[in-house]
């Protein structure tokens, strides 16, 4: 191993006063990493102030930290063992400074979690364990500290270790080691302690040396969030850092969410012997393209194959650091890669109690809390699921200039909207019709348009659509119902029920309904169409003649009606992605008409629909 090796980043976490800073001070001292005179200076300072000497003073450099014997902010310090160099990140344990613990832990590759043997597992021991998991720190060793206070007793060590092992098991985390130590006395830090002959496992330093480096994710799909576009000279350089994957000159790339494509012409670099031909994860680079397409900061460059998803709505597991709780309906600035956009908290699905990992519904997440939310942006974003690409699957929320929370993305139940917006053939030109819309209206005596029914399964969409079709036909309207039966068996026979297929199903229905409307018909569509984005797209397809009609009934009512027995099957887990049960329904925000079928008798519902059509479609 050479001295040029990359240091491994280790964070030290745990409840307040459990001895984290003492451990770090001790590690630095016992491995001979401290500069000359440092310990003497701290000793002299302690004497001058009439305080006992503390190893923690090596890290706790702010006067207020020393005065109160508490770490306020995180410190990063380099040290090395015989095997390799490290960055040791000392984090504060007091809950008031959780934001600083997160700052320290978020960039670490591994963690040591300390628990005071006498006090046992405490609130922040658990919360820090939970946060390590959420922050993606997967390598953890647990140190049961202050063994000197419990007479170096194996039983006490066993109890504390078991207690915490059970908690971590609830998160699916298996620590690499449990080590009994005394940070202050130096037991089991560098060498094995004669005070605990019953312990045969590794020392702290041996454990550090067993942690693995996390290699840059070169094997994942290419992601390069665009940081900037430079035009300092004749070159137009797209600059950014490759977060995952790799690229080479000549590669065809796509920028999301604008969906523009080009080829990499050059990889630019300054002060290198020859221009690079390829680049990979971790590098900050610049490229020029073969075509002058308009690209801005915030887009994500990828290959065509394995591009990120596009969506304006997604789920996230978040932790919250803001003074003011996170609440449903509130807006925050979201920073995702190099994109910034405002998002609204559409729903808080659950709040997690980090003490026992139980969860419950709530409409706010308090400071230092965690939970699962649904966030909605006003425009499409390029997103990855955290599980498939951590670097581009996580984001930070900002309020009043300050970062207040972080989250990791899941797209469970939400479709990729990319192919719905991409026009695949580009050589199509609109053909003007010989018969005008006005001529059709004049002959029919009414306008064409789309009545778009949306609502839960069992809300009454099909029943009402068919009844309305009969009524309107009798009154001389040109009317036609599009529903599952006539669409799914033909036009959409190739689609299943995955979120992606459902979105495509609705896209096609929207386009067909628009054609019917253009032909002078009143097209009634009767699909659940749970996603707002899909309905918005159908509205755009129809031009101005679109009427969103919310056929509304509560989930309980629909489940009670359950005309096709579907809810029962969904509850039994036989139908995946069932709207309302295992997949979301996004209610309309401003529908043209709401028909509450659980409040009105069927005749009244129908009468209101007929009245609506007479008012809006007769010419």
């Amino acid at each position: 191993m050479t001295s040029e090796d990359r240091p491994l980043k280790i964070v030290i976490v745990g409840h307040v006063d459990h001895g984290k800073s003492t451990l770090v001070g001790r590690l630095l001292h016992d491995t001979g990493s401290l500069p000359e005179g440092k310990v003497e200076a701290i000793r002299a300072m302690s004497e001058r102030r009439g305080m006992p000497f503390e190893w923690a003073f090596l890290l706790d450099a702010i006067q207020a930290e020393r005065d109160q014997g508490i770490t306020i902010d995180t410190t990063q310090i380099r040290f090395r063992t015989e095997r390799r160099p490290y960055v040791i990140i000392d984090a504060p344990g007091h809950k008031e400074f959780l934001k600083n613990m997160v700052t320290g832990a978020a960039n670490s590759e591994a963690a040591l979690l300390l628990i005071d043997a006498a006090e046992g597992v405490q609130e922040q021991s658990r919360r820090h364990g939970y946060l390590l998991h959420l922050l993606g720190v997967r390598q953890v060793a647990v140190l049961v500290n202050k063994m000197d206070l419990v007479g170096y007793a194996a039983e006490r060590f066993g109890q504390v270790a078991e207690d915490y092992r059970a908690y971590l098991a609830g998160l699916g985390v298996e620590p690499v080691a449990f080590i009994p130590v005394s940070a202050r006395e130096g037991d089991n830090i560098v060498r094995h302690s004669p005070a605990m002959p019953w312990y045969q496992g590794p020392s702290v330093v041996e454990t550090l040396d067993r942690f693995a480096h996390l290699p840059p994710p070169v094997d994942r799909p290419l992601r390069m969030p665009v940081q900037d576009v430079y035009k300092f000279d004749h070159r137009r350089i797209i600059a950014g850092r490759i977060e995952s994957g790799s690229l080479a000159v000549g590669d065809e790339v796509v920028f999301s969410p604008s969906n523009k494509t080009a080829r990499i012409r050059t990889i630019e670099a300054w002060n290198v012997p020859e221009a690079p031909e390829r680049a990979s994860a971790g590098q900050s680079i610049g490229v020029t393209l073969d075509e002058q397409i308009f690209i801005e900061r915030g887009e994500v460059m990828s290959h065509l194959e394995g591009a990120p998803m596009e969506s304006n709505v997604f789920r996230a597991r978040i932790f919250w650091l803001g003074q003011v709780p996170l609440e449903t309906g509130r807006q925050y600035l979201m920073k995702l890669g190099t994109t910034e956009t405002r998002v609204t908290v559409e729903a808080i699905e659950r709040v997690i109690d980090t003490d026992d990992l139980s969860s419950r519904p709530a409409d706010r997440i308090p400071r230092n809390g965690a939970g699962e939310v649904v966030l909605r942006a006003r425009r499409l974003l390029a997103v990855d699921e955290y599980e498939s690409n951590p670097a581009t699957g996580r984001f930070v929320l900002v309020e009043d200039y300050r970062p207040v929370g972080g989250g990791i993305i899941s797209m469970e139940g939400y479709p990729d909207q990319r192919r719905l917006v991409t026009v695949k053939s580009t050589n199509i030109h609109a053909v003007g019709h010989a018969v005008t819309r006005e001529a059709r209206q004049a002959r029919n005596g009414h306008k064409g348009g789309v009545l778009w029914f949306t609502g839960l399964s069992g809300a009454g969409k099909s029943t009402l659509a068919l009844a309305l079709e009969r009524e309107l036909f009798a009154k001389g309207y040109h009317v036609y119902v599009l529903d599952g039966d006539n669409i799914r068996s033909g036009l959409n026979a190739n689609l299943g029920f995955s979120p992606d297929d459902r979105a495509e199903n609705i896209r096609r229905v929207g386009e067909v309904a628009a054609l019917f409307a253009d032909a002078g018909f009143i097209a009634i569509s009767a699909f659940i169409s749970p996603y707002r984005a899909d309905r918005e797209r159908a509205r755009r397809a129809a031009g101005g003649d679109f009427h969103e009609i919310w056929v509304k009934a509560s989930l309980e009512t629909c489940e009670r009606r359950d005309p096709k027995g579907l809810y029962r099957k969904a509850r039994a887990g036989e139908i995946p992605d069932f709207t309302g049960i295992s997949s979301p329904y996004e209610p309309p925000e401003s529908p043209e008409l709401v028909i509450a079928t659980d409040e009105l008798p069927e005749e009244e519902c129908l009468a209101r629909l007929v009245r609506y059509v007479e008012e809006h479609f007769r010419t």
Partner: protein, 264 residues
Amino acid sequence: MNHLDALEAESIYILREAFAKLDRLAILWSLGKDSNVVLWLARKAFFGHVPFPVLHVDTGKKFPEMYAFRDRYAKEWGLNFIAEPCPPIEAVDPTLPPAARSAARKTLGLKQALEKHGFEGLILGIRRDEEALRAKERYFSPRGADNSWDMKDQPPEFWNQYMTDFPPGTHVRVHPILHWTEVDIWRYTKRENIPVIDLYFARDGKRYRSLGDRDITFPVASEARTIDEIIRELETTKVPERAGRALDHETEDAFERLRAAGYM
């Protein structure tokens, strides 16, 4: 990717974030080994250009070699160079010990330069391993209207998202080489062949490890005459880098008070 490549990539990312997000940005050039590396990294980040002013807050008490170095490379590297003088020492709190007073003068000079040019972002070459308070710094560190650093309530910083927006009247300090160490700086200086001032190399058994004002910076005992020898020396030495800086030794909390007031 080796260690130096990783350090460089991170620093370039930070410089580009600063340039993309901050309107009136400047880089503080103290002519020492660290700020030379920062300038070099800026040229890498922006493909040979430094697209913002390079500011030297001049105490008037630097070594002559430093002025010569400054004038030469400001020209050779095509920098948009600004020198701003510090106010006379009489304008600074006379109750401070000598080195602290000298540092306070520099802080005042910096503050006046910031006001004069209206910079909202200032790039500085400080590193965590220099001393214990800097070890607690953020890459993007917000400063109050009076230049102050609220070290007891810093914003969280994680996942490469930095505080790049802040209330009117305040500014931000950007620290692109915060994660480097002294020996990293020398290894990189050697690899990239970055020019440095001769004062860093031993003459008559002494060399400067850190360059400040002539009257408050002292050489340390050393036989290192080349960068390789400096690297070898640093791999074994236990003498702290700022040992030759009088400022750090005057009183226990002198440095904390200076930094809270806006010293770099």
